[in-house]
């Protein structure tokens, strides 16, 4: 695909904002790494050799009996007994750098949970003895995934609604605008609290509930772009050519609105992440046991004697949100037609 000179200039502007450029790379590199969290923090070995055969315990559940144990249930590879069994048959285990998953409980803590950072648990454990490092890695992935999905979905709905309103205008626009004004003035956080109490909150339920309120963010921007651009000469020319409304919207008007939309997206992303964290902190978010940064915050608050909990959650969240904001700044610079550097 040929990159138009305009887009090349935008990309150059984006890169010139060093801070934002670095933050963007960092944000997505960390995200990509955490996408493979199972390879980094896992309580099952990545690869296991036993009796001349290779096993991949982190993907497949093997019963303990396979390795000569007593139980039909899945093997607990952290069990010293199992380690012995495997060593007996000239076996070996390849572990992930962190031998804890987000829900692995360390029963061998020298002190009562929450335990402070140590060589075994780099960031300490939470009050249920779970490794904070592992929880943070999984939590980052979950938060960003949630934020990205919310962003994509709400922009699809928001752009579509804004496009239709701006293009057709008139009564449709008037009614939809009033509806959105009423919708937006609802105290959405409290409504979400009620929803969360009614439904069993899971990843998808929470996503849908937040989506109900977050799609309006983009409508105003897109609508304004469409209102402005629908009377452009080249749109008029397309009408005079007999081009259908759908094609005009997609081919001529949507690209105009994309600039405003893309500039806005990082804010939707951070908004989504913050909302999820907020709900989790209140205990109304993801189901108990999920690796959530909000839950870590709540634990930090409940265990002031264990400052590593609160500090870790604060640092991770602020790092993530700060990077997203720097990214937003760089995106804004990239699309600013008047931006010049000298």
């Amino acid at each position: 695909m040929k990159i138009s000179p305009l887009n090349r200039r935008r990309f150059q502007n984006f890169r010139r904002n060093r801070r934002g450029y670095v933050a963007t790379i960092l944000f997505f590199v960390i995200f990509m790494v955490t996408l493979f969290a199972e390879l980094i923090a896992n309580d099952k070995p990545l690869l296991l050799s036993h009796d001349g055969e290779l096993y991949v315990p982190f993907l497949v559940a093997y019963p303990e009996t396979r390795f000569g144990g007593d139980f039909e249930t899945e093997a607990d590879y952290r069990d010293p007994f199992l380690e012995e069994l495997i060593a007996e048959k000239d076996g070996w285990m390849l572990w992930a750098p962190i031998r804890y998953s987000y829900d692995t409980i360390n029963y061998d803590l020298p002190v009562p949970a929450p335990a402070p950072p140590s060589a075994e648990n780099w960031l300490g454990t939470d009050d249920q003895g779970r490794d904070v490092m592992a929880r943070v890695i999984y939590g980052y992935r979950l938060s960003v995934l949630f934020g990205l999905m919310l962003t994509v979905l709400s922009s699809i709905i928001g752009v579509a609604a804004g496009a239709v309103q701006g293009y057709y205008g008139g009564w449709l626009d008037l009614v939809a605008q009033r509806f959105i004004e009423i919708w937006e003035s609802m105290p959405f956080f409290f409504i979400i609290l009620i929803f969360s109490a009614l439904f069993v909150p899971g990843f998808w339920t929470l996503l849908s509930i937040l989506l109900i309120f977050s799609w309006t963010a983009l409508v105003a921007v897109v609508r304004a772009e469409f209102l402005r651009a629908r009377n452009f000469d080249y749109v008029q020319a397309a009408r005079a050519l007999g081009v259908s409304n759908g094609v005009i919207i997609f081919k001529h008007l949507l690209p105009n609105a994309m600039v405003a939309t893309i500039t806005f997206l990082p804010f939707v992303l951070t908004g989504g992440i913050t909302a999820l964290t907020g709900l989790d902190t209140l205990g109304l978010g993801l189901p108990p046991g999920s690796p959530s940064l909000g839950e870590l915050l709540a634990q930090g608050k409940a265990n002031l004697q264990a400052p590593w909990l609160g500090i870790t959650a604060f640092l991770v969240l602020s790092l993530m949100l700060t990077m997203a904001m720097f990214m937003a700044e760089a995106v804004r610079d990239a699309f600013d037609p008047r931006k010049t550097f000298h």
């Binding site: 138009s4 080249y234 005079a240 050519l241 007999g242 081009v243 259908s244 409304n245 081919k251 000298h342």
Partner: protein, 546 residues
Amino acid sequence: MAAQDTSDTAGPLLTVENLAVRFHAEGGDVDAVRGVSFTLNRGETLAVVGESGSGKSVTALSVMQLLPYPLASHPTGSIRLGSEELVGAPDVFMRSMRGRRISMIFQEPLSALNPLHNVEKQVAEVLIQHQGMTKTAARARVLELLDLVGIPDPESRLDDYPHQLSGGQRQRVMIAMALANEPDLLIADEPTTALDVTIQAQILELLKDLQRRLGMAILFITHDLGIVRRMADRVAVMTRGEIVEAGATAEVMDNPQHDYTKMLLAAEPKGRPERSGEVPPLLLRTENLKVWFPIRRGVFRSTVGHVKAVDGIDIDLAEGRTVGVVGESGSGKTTLGQAILRLIRSDGAISFDGERIDQRGYKAMRPLRRQMQVVFQDPYGSLSPRLSVGDIIEEGLLVHGLVGKEASRRDVIAAALEEVGLEGAMQDRYPHEFSGGQRQRIAIARAIALKPRFIVLDEPTSALDMSVQAQIVNLLRDLQDRYNLAYLFISHDLRVVRALSDEVVVMKDGKVVERGPAQRIFDSPEQDYTKALLAAAFEHRMIGDG
């Protein structure tokens, strides 16, 4: 004030020597002005004339030192006002010069005036800033200035905001601001380009009159040779950042030496359409066509009145002929074109090729769109910047199923481009790679690719340079002969209308003021309004007209 008088009274007021302006841009520096020299005496008018991109405005802005430094720089050159060097002068010094000894008026008064300040504040600012006047003293002086620039009943306009003034009045307010401190030098950068012809004439008259009274020098930047002849003592012709010819106005105009000047002078659209034989059959007719925009007020949005943009217009257009629609801004001529194309709602019968089309919806109109096309004024706005030239021309062809496979499609597009004097290979490039004139050719190619029978030309030459205007007019005339096209030619530029039209309709406030064969309208207009339009357009523009 005293400082002014101590500086030299002998010698030229403004001396520009070997001025160069360089812009630092991505992918290399651009030399916008290269080695320009001229002088300007007190009480004299020097016109710098050139087409867009010639560097004339950049030269003017250099005098004010208002270029975007350090993005712009002067590799060489000096600009002296009296004996004071302006190039590289400290900012504080330049601020004391601007608005006091050098003032500037701009092309578009609406964007040059602060929309949030009323007239009094606008004008008084310069007085308070430079002369330290009190508010009351400034107010008296503002009234005096508004009176000077010919604003009737200035007292009542003090509280008006820019949007409440007409275009001509805004330009007068801007002139009042520029003159507030009685500058030695007034720089006028295309001060009348955005105005209607009748207003243009008034503003030019005002400037001349003020110059006589105040004895200031005027540096007049323009692309309009008619204005040069009317206003300037001396003229400098600029192209590509250089002055190619300079001298006394009459001398340069009557006996141009440089090829570029000759080309500029010869470039005015000339001639009239030649017709022979009997009148061909009627193609388009409107009867009592009306476009009324309702004014809605109150909670229930009840209609309290109408803006009558087009108010009962009859048009008869025969195949292969041209009807010129003439009017100033706000006369409803563009709305008329849009109504005929059924792009906006209208009342009254419109028939095309014997069929009523005014009742048809958007879908029902589609088959007919192939036969009726449009070319807009602004060649920058009418082509989508995101589509290649090929995509732009192809769009209409696709809608009407006129193209088949990829290979033959490229041939059809290439043929359309060649038709308008471009190359077929240009279809892979994007609009921004083309000049204004070329873009307008692309817009015309888009229209004629469908092989229409009727084209609405909505000011197709107004945004173009003079030399390009003539080319486009020739192209349009040529295409009309070749394909027997009928044109509805909408323009405020009477010279272009005369060059193309068989019949002329003069519009004002949505109504027809006068109509008739072009010959008669131009040779013996009956209505006063038509006479005024013609006088404003032709009296100071008799260049190259024979």
